[in-house]
């Protein structure tokens, strides 16, 4: 059973900040398939399209029949630990800091033997459930988890390096007025966040949930207007050094297309949704990126909540879609810029939310509570891309299958 993590003591500001190191980063292109699977929480391996042999390590041709058509498919996670070791010596700086480290060899029921990280509750001979998660270098890696749930299993130190678990971390939720801000704060506290900072723009007119959230011991409500560079900088100067997870909930949305639309609304959407994200990244990013190796409450993730229309425009919300595509693009650049630090950028894609601005849209719509849960689950699982709700999942699947067909369907092509 994993030892429950205890709340870390206050930091001594005179001690040197540990410089982040990364686990081995290099991969072949084929192995990036593991990274792609881990990003969305899928357990996918290559299957031969002719003889169905499951391959590992990832390769370019089937080891049973030489067929070169290998498909990444969801695979049975079950297996048994054949051998285990605890590594006490490594020439790699990342692992040297984290020794001893447990690794093992697992025979998957699906066929291959897998050299993997071992969760602390897993021993030689045990049945396990294999998972692929993103490591600090942003690459997909295998970890053998207990076959069933174990107490405090998320607190296992090796598993924790592969997630952005909010437990004992301090979280900034940027906009109290987002319909999902309140359930998100409650979910974070339930998940063990040690403190939640909640941003409030235009504090002279209090947001509706202000009183109820301010009454919570772990919550502070602070001035933050993502459209105002000074406001963002001022807050970052105050709490940037203790923000472990930043969840950008700020969003401005108005229905309407492009031709009949109003560029004033469009500008407001860009100001909040795209430039607001840039301002937050510029003000909080460097401090967070410098604290990714800072113990139990190290900086772990920068989270965006994006509309599924970021992937392909929803013409009923034309300018808003454009702002979401811009934000999505910015998040990709941030991934590149944060890569060396190990700070994760998690995007949560969501379909129409059940709020006043999507009032005329038909269901399914995402309830604020469901979105809040998806955000926290994504952090606990260590995902990079979360598709929340049936609508976003459907859009993602269609986008991956054929982006052009999706575009045609979204722009007025009902099925015949």
């Amino acid at each position: 059973m994993s030892e429950p993590l205890s709340r870390p003591p206050k930091k001594n500001p005179q001690l040197r900040q540990k410089v982040a190191t990364l686990p081995p980063l290099a991969r072949s292109r084929a192995a990036m398939g593991l990274t792609a699977a881990a990003a969305r929480g899928s357990f996918s391996l290559q299957h031969c399209s002719e003889c169905a042999t499951v391959q590992y390590p990832p390769r370019d041709a089937c080891s049973a029949c030489l067929c070169v058509d290998l498909e990444w498919r969801e695979t049975d996670r079950g297996g048994s630990v054949v051998a285990q070791t605890t590594i006490h010596a490594s020439p790699d700086p990342y692992y040297r800091q984290r020794l001893p480290w447990r690794s093992g060899l697992v025979k998957l029921d699906a066929g291959p033997s897998i050299f993997c990280h071992l969760h602390g509750d897993v021993r030689r001979g045990d049945r396990i459930s294999m998972d692929i998660k993103l490591d600090r270098a942003g690459q997909g890696v295998m970890i053998a988890l207990p076959a069933g749930r174990m107490p405090n299993m998320e607190d296992d130190p090796q598993l924790r390096t592969l997630t952005a678990n909010p437990r004992h971390r301090r979280v900034l939720v940027t906009d109290i007025r987002a319909p999902w801000a309140v359930p998100l704060v409650h979910e974070l506290i339930k998940a063990g966040a040690s403190h939640v900072f909640v941003g409030e723009a235009e504090g002279w007119r209090r947001a509706t949930p202000h009183e109820s959230l301010a009454s919570l011991e772990q919550v502070s409500i602070l001035q933050l207007d993502v459209t105002d560079a000074n406001s963002v900088k001022k807050l970052a100067a105050g709490i940037g050094g203790k923000t472990d997870i930043l969840i950008n909930t700020a969003r401005h949305v108005r229905p309407g297309g492009v031709v009949g639309g109003d560029t004033v609304f469009a500008r407001d959407e860009m100001e909040v949704n795209a430039f607001g994200l840039m301002r937050l990244a510029q003000a909080f990013g460097p401090a967070m990126a410098s604290r990714t190796d800072d113990g139990i409450n190290s900086a772990a993730a920068f989270v965006n909540i994006l509309s599924a229309s970021a992937m392909s425009a929803e013409p009923g919300y034309g300018a808003f879609s454009a702002s979401q595509a811009a934000a999505y693009s910015i998040s990709q650049t941030l991934r590149g810029e944060f890569r060396a630090s190990g700070l994760r950028v998690m995007n949560v894609f969501v379909g129409p939310t059940d709020d006043e601005w999507h009032q005329q849209m038909p269901p399914p719509k995402v309830a604020p509570q469901a979105l809040a849960k998806a955000v926290v689950d994504g952090l606990v699982c260590g995902l990079e891309d979360v598709y929340c709700g049936d609508f976003a999942k459907d859009i993602e699947e269609r986008w991956r299958r054929d982006a052009k067909v999706l575009e045609r369907e979204l722009t007025g092509g009902e099925h015949g």
Partner: protein
């Protein structure tokens, strides 16, 4: 013989064994080490570089060169050139191929040389670019290097067969005893059972003295026709039989046997011999458990009984089963690909009576075994040869 009969290696012999003494760290390059070993074998045979028409090279640290670049670097014009990138199997495999070249007349004299540099940090760099599967699927998991992979194999051997750390110790302690007679060995002090057992852990169940010391060095020998060796008055060894195999038993979930198990019957059939006739055994000892796997797969004991075998026998030079008589890599050091030549070069010395302080009296027949290249979770190359002296 499941593969049909192979032609014998009659007519081709191995000679001129040379070791360039190892050093822990050296600023010299692989080219420098290989040049010295090549000079050594040529001098020993009284050959000029212009006469050398066959060259076989094994090295991990020649980059960006290959053996092609070495020909110009070293002023050679061979008509037969080979590169054997098989790590611990390189010595046996280089010899097998060179012997065929000499038998067929493609080359008259083949110099087989392995050498590697060891600069500060070069071991870590070598690991990080060792193989695609290692990069993708083993280094990201704790970066224990080969120690971690072999720890898993050792763990499985112990679980499956009841092998113990004391058994591993017997192999290593006997080899250290042998190394103390070898003036070129890196390790100069005795190793006791207690020290082996009390050593700091590296990757459980492996501890410090289960592991080799990376260093710089080179080894070499010549392959030529027997009548040439006689004419030049060179002590030589005949190749009674030899095998190689790659990626054997791919469906075994973990490696508890190597390719020898597939080919061992053919090896003894070729040599018209048996394990009982072997006077000296030189296994590839990157870890004691791997030497023990070779003892099993080469028929010195049954599968899983190598623990009992090493308990029942004295593996030192003066013992009843002399094993890794120069100290092996565990005590002489692992000079990169030269580690795959160490046993071969020592075996040639033994059966030609040139081993000096490590000589096993009256050694006439030696088994050399090679094992190489942990590409992902197991060593892929295995090879073995039986050498007979001609005294």
């Amino acid at each position: 013989m499941k593969n049909g009969s192979r032609q014998s290696y009659d007519g081709a012999v191995v000679t001129a064994p040379v070791t360039i003494p190892y050093v822990r760290y050296s600023q010299e390059t692989a080219h420098w080490w290989i040049a010295r070993a090549l000079r050594g074998v040529l001098d020993k045979a009284g050959l000029r570089t212009g006469e050398l028409d066959g060259f076989s090279v094994s090295s991990f640290t020649l980059f960006p060169d290959t053996p092609v670049g070495l020909t110009q670097h070293l002023g050679l014009s061979p008509r037969w050139l080979d590169s054997i990138p098989m790590g611990g199997a390189s010595g046996v495999v280089a010899m097998r191929r060179a012997a065929r070249a000499v038998q067929s007349g493609d080359a008259r004299y083949v110099a087989c040389v392995a050498g590697d540099a060891n600069h500060i940090d070069s071991f870590r760099r070598l690991l990080s670019s060792f193989s695609r599967f290692a990069m993708d699927a083993s280094y990201p998991y704790g970066y224990g290097g080969p120690n971690a992979s072999f720890a898993l194999i050792a763990d499985a051997h112990m679980q499956q067969y009841g092998t113990t750390r004391e058994d591993f110790a017997r192999v290593a302690v006997a080899q250290r005893d042998n190394a103390l007679r070898n003036p070129d060995a890196i390790m100069k002090t005795a190793l006791t059972m207690e020290q082996f057992m009390a050593a700091r852990p590296i990757a459980d169940p492996l501890c410090l003295f289960d592991c080799v010391m990376p260093c710089a060095g080179a080894e070499g020998f010549l392959v030529m026709r027997e009548d040439e060796a006689v004419r030049r008055n060179l002590p030589f060894a005949r190749i009674a039989g030899t095998i190689e195999r790659h990626n054997a038993f791919p469906d075994d979930p973990i490696q508890l046997r190597g390719g020898w198990a597939m080919d061992v019957d053919e090896l003894y059939a070729m040599a018209q011999g048996s394990p009982g006739e072997i006077d000296v055994l030189e296994t590839y000892d990157d870890y004691p458990v791997i030497s023990m796997m070779q003892m099993e797969d080469l028929g010195f004991c049954a599968k899983g009984e190598s623990g009992k075998f090493v308990r029942d026998h004295d593996l030192t030079i003066s013992g009843d089963y002399p094993h890794n008589t120069s100290g092996g890599q565990l005590s002489a050091g692992q000079a990169g690909a030269a580690g795959g030549y160490l046993g071969m070069v020592e075996a040639i010395r033994q059966v030609t009576g040139e081993a000096g302080p490590t000589q096993v009296p009256d050694a006439m027949t030696a088994m050399v075994s090679g094992f190489g290249m942990i590409n992902y979770d197991r060593g892929l190359c295995s090879a073995a040869a039986i050498l007979r002296g001609a005294r």
